[in-house]
């Protein structure tokens, strides 16, 4: 079967058109928008599968100067497999949203933005032109902001906007770097056509690499451009978190980074840029997971993990070895699956209980079995426990680090492994405080979410298992065509894998127990002879790791973390004094204003007439 290249347009413009339609559907049509969204995303998913099966496709319109085409779409192994998954996530999220978003305001806009995001993401994957890519990439940023402003149930309008503000500033700022990077890349390679760019090297190429990397990691959420994700997690609807920072933004960011490493830059294991990426990756893994351990809000905890997992991808791609890059890309895929699974489980819990504070949850395993099992599988996956998919991608990343050569790289290995252990530890906390332990009285009568919410969870959990047990499948089907043949036989290499696994488990358990013992000891049973509520006497999972929080070395770091010293966005406030000084200079005196003009003329005279 041969497809016409025009089919690529459908994956972009069908969702966008459907989104516009959603905007026009009047409120009284019941399920109108929901059915449009689900039907559209389903259609796009099917088409994306067809495109994936088909050979390479290219759709072009005429040139409009500088080698830029209005539309220049190209589907090949990498873009078509990402296209398939972005459409899948689109489908799952619109399914999930039916119930989850029901009854909220601004639904009209919600589906519009959702479908617009999907279309633009597909456009970014398919575009073979850097400018077009940038445009679609930017649209995803705008819709991210707009989706954020819809806001979660429990956040004040100010907080919601500030979260959107922060994400827009950080991603938008990084986009400016990306823009310049693309400009430099164009200058070096002489073309905007991505498939025609040959790997570049040299000083300017390195600058372009760093600038494009900034754009990529801000989208993927690696440090130091990660700080928008935790804030957004508190303010945005959970389905949005699962859709954008959880999956699509990761796909986009890592896609760009991999294209850069694979196609645009002379990237070799051990080169300075490789080292830079690996450091960013390792630091992100550790720092974010440390922050995740002490969070009370479920969404915020998940969001720090979203940051931490981005570290693995950057680390894997940063190794520059085929197996490492493959591992990074595979981890990107896996992360999107289990991370959106986790966010959606969180959404499901929130939908059932109306609560996001881990301290107020507990004992939901029986009430919400499907959510529990899906969440458990995803949690084990994200922690890198075999046989789930997270294990394999992480293992490939480890192997990539080892193959990258230099002996000092063991430190990255340690960081990655330690990060895994801490991830496990923090998910023990999440699972414990949500699904196990004592059930608070307020949560009696909580029921499993409806079928439209559980189907996405089941699908995602199933994918975690399938991609884990049959890891060969995604690797040979999706990733090998992109990075070339990968030796995955080592996956089952028993010694290293087992050792790493045991170490990870052991550290996780040790931390778990340290935390638990300390807290249990501290909880008093009676105060003034009054019997306390069982909720207050139970062991709240949220306090598991307060031990670590107050441990000497870390307490300082945590305090700074809370003061947002590591948050690049918070440095914006230093602009304000400058603006105030400038503002005071405009003192309303005509004579001063005319004097400025005179100085302007003086300088111009001196420069142009005097010198020239």
């Amino acid at each position: 079967m041969s497809l016409s290249p025009g089919i690529l347009l459908i994956t972009i413009f069908l969702p966008m058109a459907a989104g516009l339609l959603c905007l026009l559907v009047p409120d009284r049509v019941r399920w109108g928008r929901e059915s449009i969204a689900v039907a559209t995303t389903l259609a796009v998913f099917v088409i994306a599968i067809l495109i994936f099966i088909a050979p390479e496709l290219r759709f072009q319109t005429g040139e409009i100067g500088l080698g830029i085409r209005y539309l220049d779409l190209y589907s090949y192994s990498f873009s078509s497999f990402l296209l398939m998954f972005s459409s899948l996530f689109g489908l799952l999220i619109s399914l999930f949203s039916i119930r989850y978003m029901q009854g909220r305001g601004r639904l009209r806009e919600y589906y519009f933005y959702l479908l617009l995001t999907l279309g633009a993401t597909n456009g970014a994957f398919l575009s073979d032109n850097l400018i077009l890519f940038l445009a679609f990439w930017g649209i995803v940023m705008v819709t991210l902001f707009l989706l954020t402003t819809i806001g979660s149930r429990d956040a004040s309008p100010e907080r919601v906007f500030d979260a959107g503000h922060k994400s827009l500033m950080i991603i938008g700022g990084a986009d400016m770097a990306l823009l310049l990077g693309i400009g430099l890349l164009w200058y070096l390679s002489g073309t905007f056509t991505m498939s025609a760019i040959t790997p570049q090297s040299g000083g300017m190429a390195t600058a372009a690499f760093v600038l494009i990397m900034l754009g990529a990691i801000s989208k993927a959420g690696a440090m130091p451009l990660h700080s928008w994700i935790p804030n957004m997690a508190e303010a945005a609807p959970t389905s949005v978190m699962a859709f954008l920072p959880g999956s699509l933004d990761k796909l986009l960011g890592i896609y760009l980074l991999s294209r850069m490493v694979l196609n645009f830059y002379e990237f070799s294991p051990g080169c300075p840029m490789s080292l830079l990426l690996m450091i960013i990756g390792a630091v992100t893994i550790i720092a974010a997971v440390m922050m995740a351990m002490v969070q009370h809000d479920m969404r915020k905890l998940l969001s720090f993990h979203a940051v931490s997992q981005a570290g693995y991808m950057v680390l894997g791609i940063g190794t520059g070895t085929p197996i490492g890059v493959a591992g990074g890309i595979f981890h990107m895929l896996n992360n999107s699956i289990f991370k959106s699974g986790l966010f959606l489980s969180g959404g499901s819990v929130e939908h059932g209980t109306g609560e996001n504070d881990l301290g107020k949850l507990g004992g939901l395993a029986k009430a919400m079995p499907i959510t529990f099992i899906a969440c458990l599988i995803c949690a084990l996956s994200i922690s890198g426990v075999p046989p789930f998919n997270g294990f394999f991608s992480k293992w490939m990343v480890y192997q990539g680090i080892l193959e990258a050569g230099a002996s000092q790289f063991w430190i990255f290995l340690i960081a990655a492994m330690f990060g895994s252990a801490l991830t496990l530890a923090s998910f023990v906390k999440l699972i414990h405080s949500t699904f196990l332990g004592q059930k608070p009285r307020e949560l009696e009568g909580v029921k499993e979410s409806g079928i439209s919410m559980t189907i996405p969870l089941i699908v995602l959990a199933a994918l975690c298992v399938v991609f884990g047990v049959f890891a060969q499948l995604p690797i040979t089907q999706f990733i090998a065509p992109v990075v070339g043949p990968v030796t995955v036989s080592g996956v089952w290499s028993p010694t290293l894998a087992t050792v790493l696994l045991l170490v990870a488990l052991a550290i996780g358990l040790i931390i778990y127990f340290i935390g638990k013992i300390r807290v249990t000891r501290e909880v008093p049973m009676y105060i003034g002879g009054e019997t306390l509520d069982p909720v207050e006497t139970s062991v709240p999972g949220t306090r598991f790791y307060d031990t670590i929080r107050f441990m000497g070395v870390f307490s300082g770091l945590y305090r700074r973390g809370e003061e947002a010293v590591f948050d690049i966005y918070s440095y914006g406030k230093y602009v304000l004094p400058v603006t105030r000084v400038l503002s005071v200079l405009h003192n309303g005196r005509l004579t001063t204003y005319v004097s400025w003009c005179l100085w302007g003329l003086i300088i111009l005279f001196l420069i142009l007439v005097g010198v020239g």
């Binding site: 005196r589 001063t592 005319v594 004097s595 100085w599």
Partner: protein, 154 residues
């Protein structure tokens, strides 16, 4: 040319007087005197049109200014100079500008071409353009002199 230069010197003097006088009416008369000198210079050099323009200027501007002084204040009560950052900045600016401008332009004068250009040229339509400019100004004055600008004020 000498006569022109002398008259120009007088104009500068008149201008300075106009700017320095505390009594605004005297200042305006001094400006008027400068205007008359301007007209004389124009006619001396053979610039008939500019001279007529000067006459129009003086004939309209001086009465208007006198009228304005009548409506506002007859005395320039603003302080000559206060020792403030602003004032000092302004003084430095203007002095620097004067110095730089003179330093820059005096060497330029010999470069100015002295090729004669066609002396006569029909005034013709240029008058129409002047009329349009004046029309705009009249419309402006007509709008600005309203007593009440916004509905509901006073």
């Amino acid at each position: 040319m000498v006569a022109v230069n002398v008259l120009l010197g007088l104009m500068i003097l008149a201008g300075l007087v106009a700017l320095e006088m505390r009594n605004l009416r005297v200042a305006i008369y001094s400006l008027g005197a400068g205007g008359v000198l301007f007209i004389v210079i124009s006619f001396l050099m053979g610039a008939l049109e500019v001279g007529i323009g000067g006459v129009i200027l003086v004939a309209i501007l001086i009465p208007l200014l006198i009228w304005a002084v009548g409506r506002t204040t007859g005395e320039d009560t603003t302080a000559r100079m206060r020792l403030e950052v602003n004032e000092i900045f302004v003084l430095i600016s203007i002095v620097a500008f004067i110095v730089v401008l003179l330093v820059v332009i005096i060497p330029l004068f010999p470069e100015l071409p002295s090729v004669p250009e066609a002396v006569e040229g029909p005034m013709g339509l240029s008058i129409l353009r002047e009329v349009l400019v004046l029309l705009a100004a009249l419309a402006g004055v007509w709008a600005v002199l309203r007593l009440v600008g916004r509905r509901g004020d006073k």
